[in-house]
Symmetry: C2
Subunit: 201 residues, 2 copies
């Protein structure tokens, strides 16, 4: 059985929570489609990790909204926030449904694959190995977009997600979600896994 | 009361239906966020139009899948198609929830707006006027991306949607969903509404 942590009320900025939940739900759709397209259990697993985080965010947003509301006017102003959180939750659940297809070994029918094929851009999940040249580097200093045509669209460090990271310092063990053209993606995989020791331009 | 049309079984390519439903559901999220960001009832209305289309597609996909399945093996192969259709439906419903906030005049709280602000890119909805220079032109020949930095990401002609149109011939009355930087968006609006009679590069 899954061990669930108790979610306690914390006074957090609802704005920050809302930005996070929206970014996560969008990322989950892309990850779920890619998981189905490449039959990748690793990507599918990340979607389920994110679903758990989104559930937590929904609780935190609703608790903070309820505490903030003192009268009818507050309630009118803030009811929209709960609607948006709940919409992000639905999107997250829909993505998890697709990811579960992959994890349950239900074959992905070719017509599903065709629906998910998006131009030339691909997503992968890579883990930074101990000997990778990425460990300890600042993400923006690596100039990955200019050099090999890829973007790191998310980093997971244990349970913490960073979406659209900019100047983050990468660490060994970080899980990177990388988007780009096939060639760059392959190179990025090698660099993260420590089999390529230099970024070829 | 809304007058609903009877949906009859038609033997249609499930692949085409699935591609359409996935593209529409993704478009709806963008439209719903933009509708909330700009408090645009026009964009919100388009989201609800699309929701109706997505509902129809779900019925058609499920009917076609059920008819195609003859034995357990078929069922295993095709159950994933229904899951994907249902996921797109959930995404569509979530988008409609957000659009309804706008249509019901529930104020969009500034923190919702902040969550929806996406870099510099904006979406608008414009209708091609009778005297617009766009009427009768082939979309790709207009070179809108090169000339004014905008993309037509969808066209609605009455009840029919064209997503990511390429070489479509534009007609007066077409509703265009246009994405781009604010300046180009403004110019595109003028050109579609017939107040600007030339594409300025």
């Amino acid at each position: 059985m899954v061990k669930l942590e108790k979610i306690e009320y914390k006074p957090i900025s609802v704005r920050d929570l809302l930005i996070e939940i929206k970014d996560l739900s969008e990322l989950m759709i892309d990850l779920a489609y890619s998981a189905a397209l490449f039959n990748s259990k690793e990507l599918a697993g990340e979607v389920l990790e994110l679903e758990e985080r989104v559930d937590t965010l929904v609780y935190l947003i609703n608790m903070n909204v309820m505490i903030a509301v003192r009268d009818a006017q507050d309630a009118e102003l803030l009811v929209g926030v709960s609607v948006v959180a709940s919409a992000a939750d639905k999107i997250s659940n829909a993505s998890a449904d697709i990811a579960s297809l992959v994890l349950k070994d239900i074959g992905i029918h070719p017509i599903v694959r065709q629906a998910f094929e998006k131009a030339e851009e691909h997503l992968i999940r890579v883990k930074i190995a101990q000997n990778s040249i990425l460990a300890g580097k600042l993400l923006d200093k690596l100039e990955l977009a200019a050099k090999i045509g890829v973007d790191v669209i998310a980093i997971r460090r244990n349970k913490q997600w960073m979406i659209n990271p900019k100047s983050e310092k990468l660490q060994k063990g970080d899980i990177l979600i990388v988007r780009g053209a096939p060639h760059g993606i392959e190179e990025m995989k090698g660099v993260a896994e420590g089999t390529i020791m230099k970024l070829e331009e």
